[in-house]
């Protein structure tokens, strides 16, 4: 089954890069010390944690490495930002309808159990926010704004730097948190030049292992620790440091900075070629989300009138790994909340497939996928009960071509 794997599901998780693996291994072996220890054996390990903190600070452009706190994952980072609010008088949170569940479900929890009022901003058919609506939603009671940098399903980018500016201008006290899990390593991030207060990243989305994440918290930002315990992370996140994973995250962050240009040029070209190849050869394919304001590695393509899980199963048999916003893949009967918020018609929503590339993707893999996908889609089109609708789509497409 694993003879040939073409992994185009990098927004789900990524392969750990060699640099991260090599640098983390000694910490399972001879360098097992606790960085908090008084003796040199532990203290030496602390130096590696310090270096990793600097590397992560470099990835997000923090002015001081102390602004980086290591967590167990992106979800923990989001929880920390949302649950850490300190001012009991301010009970308003603003977020968007297309956030990851690690923000949406925490916001719903705060709404239901802690007396918060939450504004969920909608998006247009391109997946973009209305800036005026955003500005209008901010008031003096707004404690926190939580907006993702890039969407995990569509790759669509929100102008978070601009949004942070707008927010602070209207209410300087508001906290601005950015879920940058899908943006880190794909677009340049420079928090020190923005008015963002907090920003989360996840290791396994940037070629570090699973089980490690981080949050940037700007100096002077008041947050109640979510994970209480010892003095680690300067008292902001208790628990003995996951040294090996932290070192790996540092190494992966350094690599991510090096590969930023690769993302912008080579990966983007491959993504565009894949997208064009599929659209040209499958008449019922359409792209979901803005094609311009988007991270370079992601494309979300709907195949109208056929169902996503079935497509994934057939692609998987060809060794191609992707994912879908279809209801059937989740065990949930409702399809993707992101695509529904964008008003994508149901004819397309159930047949949405996300391909997400990485630095390990090759041109020959893209060739293979461009060759195989239209064949699978044609086969599955013939099973669809919506034959007359499909014929109509085909006619429109042919007319447009000529």
């Amino acid at each position: 089954m694993f003879e040939k794997v073409i992994y185009l599901d990098n927004n789900a998780t990524t392969r750990v890069c060699d640099e991260a693996i090599n640098q983390m291994l000694p910490f399972f072996g001879e360098k097992y010390g606790n960085p908090s220890s008084m003796h040199n054996f532990g203290g030496d390990v602390g130096a590696y944690v310090k270096k990793a903190r600097e590397q992560v600070a470099g990835l997000v452009g923090a002015s001081d490495p102390q602004e980086i706190i290591f967590t167990s994952c992106g979800t923990e980072s989001s929880n920390m930002a949302l649950r850490g609010l300190t001012d009991p008088r301010k009970k308003h949170i603003i977020t968007t309808k297309v956030e990851h569940p690690c923000v949406l479900n925490v916001a719903k929890h705060l709404e239901k159990n802690h007396g918060y009022e939450v504004t969920y901003l909608g998006v247009n058919s391109e997946g973009l926010l209305d800036l005026d609506e955003f500005k209008d939603s901010i008031n003096e009671n707004t404690a926190l704004i939580s907006v993702m940098w890039a969407n995990n399903e569509t790759g669509v980018i929100f102008p978070v730097e601009q949004l942070a500016g707008i927010a602070k201008e209207k209410n300087p006290e508001v906290l601005f948190f950015v879920d940058a899990v899908q943006a880190a390593g794909k677009v340049p991030i420079n928090v020190k030049d923005t008015r963002i207060d907090m920003l989360s990243i996840s290791g396994h989305k940037i070629h570090a292992p699973k089980g490690i994440g981080a949050i940037y918290i700007r100096k002077g930002t008041l947050i109640t620790p979510f994970m209480q315990g010892g003095h680690q992370e300067r008292g902001r996140r208790g628990g003995t440091e996951n040294v090996a994973a932290i070192v790996a995250l540092g190494a992966a962050s350094e690599q991510a900075v090096k590969y930023l240009e690769d993302e912008e040029v080579r990966i983007k070209q491959m993504r565009n070629r894949l997208e064009r190849g599929i659209l040209e050869n499958s008449f019922n394919a359409r792209v979901n989300g803005s094609r311009f304001k988007r991270v370079p590695n992601t494309t979300n393509i709907s195949f109208e009138y056929i169902e996503g899980e079935l497509i994934l199963l057939h692609l998987s048999d060809l060794g191609i790994c992707a994912s879908s916003g279809s209801a059937c893949t989740s065990g949930n009967l409702e399809p993707s909340h992101v695509l529904r918020s964008m008003g994508i018609p149901f004819t397309a929503i159930h047949g949405s497939i996300r391909f997400s590339l990485s630095r390990y993707t090759t041109d020959s893999e893209i060739d293979y996928v461009i060759e195989k996908v239209p064949a699978v889609i044609n086969k599955l089109n013939s099973i669809s009960p919506f034959q007359s609708e499909l014929r109509e789509l085909k006619e429109i497409k042919t007319a447009m071509k000529s």
């Binding site: 169902e307 899980e309 949930n332 159930h350 099973i383 009960p385 919506f386 034959q387």
Partner: protein, 274 residues
Amino acid sequence: MWEYTEKVKEHYKNPKNVGSMEDADAIGEVGSITCGDALKLYLKINNNGIITDAKFQTFGCGSAVASASILTEMLIGKTVEEAEKITNQDIADLLGGLPEQKMHCSVMGREALEDAIASFKGETTEKKVKGKIICGCFGVTDDKIKEVIRENTLNSVIEIINYTKAGGGCGKCKDELQKILNEETSKRNNGKKEKPLTKTQLILKVNKILESNVAPELRKDGGDIELIDIEDNKIFVNLQGACKNCPSSNLTLKNFVENILKEYIGENIEVVEA
């Protein structure tokens, strides 16, 4: 990733009898694109009432394709009377089973078959859609829900969702589903006294529900739960961890734990802190 049987895989990879039929004697249609699955079934029926050919087209996942594909194989050669007796469980069984959450795919096969036979017998469309809509999200009627509860001996709202999709969208109709379920189970129990569970069976069942549906929720808030004993209709449990000293532990017991157990086992129970 779903765990599909080899039989399911065989059928979605190479489905049998795909396509439409120009001269079909009966056509059955269920589902819609909004709901995420739809099935169209075509039957050729000869003068002796024997189904000589069957074809299908479907919009759905792997298990929907497999269910429809195997259904057409089951149908060819059967009389209409024999075909009428095919249940969704027969379809699922022949596939070597389906994941619980995918049982509605087998129900869809059975519904399309019913619809086809009704059209063959000349029943009008109005007559075909029976009952009132309970689940607006997926357009499921009370008659359909009752029928599926009866045919599959369903005992919980969650099972109703898995088999019919009703209640799986916004979830507003769950109370009504519970009411229908209560009516159906009491009818079932009056009709033929079901053999009650032995104490051991009941303990096993309660333990399984606590482990898979209750404990994970409590653990999210740092708590946990343990089954201590069962006496008659009283279920004795121990709340642990954060739940132990939580001021709302009684609420948790009554509103959350008891409700879930009632959903699975029946109304006639009480959860008590041991």
